[in-house]
């Protein structure tokens, strides 16, 4: 459960202040699939950094599973990220010299999960994103973009996070592979009950989610439930 109470983020000080987020409040319940939409520069990534415990808001509070995350120190934030957050980036950010399996196991290193369990967890995650087994021992720069992004999603799954955050996850992919990746998100949401927040500036991408939050110039301007028919249509 995510609760944002009048969150603001101001960059810089004095004359060249940028208000990236201005009094944004919303609640995301467990198991929701939400798209955050808005034009370039509207504050989407800034919001994602705060939701992902990479940054503190300038004012306001952010509760994740009942804990106030907005007041934590840097090291305390890293614990939140380790235990509760899974990130998927536009640029995949896989380690190129490591195999697919090793990339997926990477968060477990910092979680100090016992070695004998890691492989099982990683394999389960790779199956969940439907990456065929013959790719698992490839180096991560030897597979296609769509496969890379699914590896990145698998990596985001292994610590069983309360929240999966994806910033423009299809930005580097063509429409067809992009749709496959978005479908993967939806399946994880439907079948495994993961809470997913997806950031995009495209309506078609946002349509994969159940709910869309629109921000513009740092303000929350719209919060709507996507129509069920529309959702069905995209699945076909």
């Amino acid at each position: 459960m995510i609760v944002c109470k009048s969150i603001s983020k101001v960059y810089g000080s004095g004359d060249n202040q940028t208000v990236a987020l201005d009094n944004v409040s919303f609640v995301i319940k467990e198991g929701e699939f939400v798209a955050i939409m808005g034009p370039s520069g509207s504050g989407k990534s800034t919001l994602m950094h705060i939701l992902g415990a990479l940054d503190n808001p300038t004012s306001g509070s952010y509760y994740l599973d009942g804990h106030d995350v907005s007041i934590l120190s840097e090291d305390e934030l890293s614990v939140i990220r380790k235990e509760k957050i899974g990130f998927v980036f536009q640029a995949f950010n896989l380690l190129p010299r490591a195999t697919v399996l090793r990339n997926v196991m990477l968060p477990l290193i910092y979680g100090e999960v016992p070695k004998d369990q890691r492989k099982k967890i990683a394999e389960e995650a790779l199956r969940a994103v439907q990456l065929t087994e013959d790719r698992w021992d490839h180096y991560s720069n030897e597979i296609s973009g769509g496969q890379m992004q699914r590896v990145a999603i698998a990596r985001a799954l292994v610590n069983d996070p309360s929240l999966i955050l994806a910033d423009e996850p299809t930005g580097n992919l063509d429409t067809k592979t992009g749709d496959f990746v978005l479908d993967t998100f939806r399946r994880l949401n439907r079948e495994k009950g993961h809470t997913i927040v997806l950031i995009t500036h495209e309506d078609e991408v946002a349509a994969f989610a159940d709910r869309t939050i629109v921000i513009r110039d740092g303000h929350l301007v719209e919060d709507r439930q996507n129509r069920k028919e529309e959702v069905k249509k995209v699945i076909q």
Partner: protein, 407 residues
């Protein structure tokens, strides 16, 4: 982060760019190896010098004519060339001072030697039979100068092995053969055993003859170049030195020690003096080599900084998936420590090998000291940590958001 994971991460990092890793480690290898070799050379020469001094005998007092050595004093009056000591002084010491085993007066100078048509310039020393005992001279073939030959002023010589090898050929039996010294003919009665010392003052390049013969035909005076005294017990050296000083002052009718026309040196002083000189030499060599070690360390730092910059995005990602500052710092610190550790091990091995080769092929005497091995090992580990600390801290402090955006 578990230790085994840290090891695996570092393994991946340092094997991913083998050439760069190799070159950086090479810097440390060269630094460490040169420290080991330089200190081994320094220690080796110290040991060689001390051994050659000790081979003369460590219970030895040497009295030479001339003023007492004084530090910072004016120009010294040609030590050893002054004329103040006589055979009577030597006899008086032998009879009047307790706790001494033998007294050996000598007179020496350089002479032209001709043998078998070969020509050489060599130090010729007039000695008594006691000389061999006092100076630890052992005879290889034949015999040393005897008291009878000394009292008869016989024209006989005992020569060092180097003289024999140079003039007659290696290991030729020369006993009974003749040689001309300063125009006079002498018979060789013995050859001394090699003492192995080299260079200036080596006892292998000396010609001995009876002191009385030398004084009659070469120096033409009663004065001596030195009197060597062997003291029975090491702990009586100081006592013997004081007694001899008092006796000679009385005999020379000098009231103050400051005006003494002779000086007494004991073997311990000489060893101490030379080891302080060679110690300084060792330090100097070590310091020069140390500079190359520091340069190697800067190489490590340079590589680590490059690595941190190259892997900025990776660091950002690691932070995003839960790594804290300590995890990141540890990883990079360990990486640089591993590099210097590898360099240290290879460098020490190489250094010991080079020192062995130098010694084995008699290029120079070397002695690898355990101290230098431990020193360079800890220095290399310290370098890894010191020069790795700044890059590691930089990596740990990267802002994850900016790091993830880094192109």
């Amino acid at each position: 982060m578990l230790m085994s994971d840290l090891v695996a991460e570092i393994h991946m990092a340092i094997t991913s760019n083998k050439v760069r890793t190799g070159l950086t480690v090479l810097g440390i290898v060269i630094g460490i190896a040169s420290v080991i070799v330089m200190i081994a050379i320094g220690n080796g020469s110290q040991k060689a010098i001390q051994e050659s001094i000790q081979s003369i005998g460590s219970n030895l007092l040497t009295i030479q004519p001339g003023k007492q050595r004084s530090f910072g004093g004016g120009p010294q009056q040609g030590m050893g060339s002054a004329e103040s000591l006589t055979r009577d002084d030597a006899t008086a010491i032998a009879q009047g001072v307790g706790g001494i085993t033998a007294v050996a007066p000598t007179a020496s100078g350089n002479q032209q030697i001709i043998a078998e048509g070969n020509n050489a310039q060599s130090s010729v020393t007039g000695v008594t039979a006691a000389y061999a005992q006092v100076n630890n001279i052992t005879i290889d073939v034949g015999s040393f100068i005897s008291d009878v030959q000394e009292s008869k002023r016989s024209k006989v010589v005992v020569i060092g092995p180097d003289i024999r090898d140079d003039l007659y050929g290696e290991n030729v039996d020369v006993v009974g053969q003749k040689m001309r010294i300063g125009g006079l003919s002498f018979t060789i009665v013995g050859v001394t055993k090699s003492k192995g010392g080299t260079g200036f003052g080596s006892s292998d390049e000396v010609v001995y003859m009876p002191l009385s013969t030398y004084q009659q035909y070469f120096s033409g005076s009663e004065y001596l170049s030195s009197i060597s005294v062997s003291v029975t017990e090491q702990d009586q050296m100081t006592q013997a030195e004081e007694d001899i000083e008092a006796l000679l002052l009385k005999r020379h009718k000098i009231s103050s020690v400051d005006d003494a026309d002779f000086n007494i040196r004991n073997q311990a002083d000489i060893i101490e003096m030379t080891s302080s000189i060679t110690g300084t030499l060792t330090m100097l060599l070590g310091a020069v080599a140390g500079i190359s070690l520091v340069v190697g360390g800067i190489g490590i730092m340079n590589m680590m900084l490059t690595t941190v910059t190259e892997r900025t995005r990776e660091i950002g990602l690691r932070k995003a998936i839960g790594a804290n500052q300590k995890d990141i710092r540890q990883q990079f610190l360990f990486e640089s420590a591993t590099l210097t550790f590898m360099g240290g091990v290879i460098g020490i091995t190489l250094g010991i090998f080079i020192a062995f080769v130098l010694d084995h092929f008699a290029i120079t005497t070397t002695q690898v000291s355990g101290f230098s091995v431990i020193l360079s090992f800890s220095v290399s580990a310290a370098i890894g940590i010191i020069f790795g600390y700044y890059p590691a801290r930089r990596a740990a402090r990267l802002n994850p958001i900016q790091a993830l955006r880094y192109e």
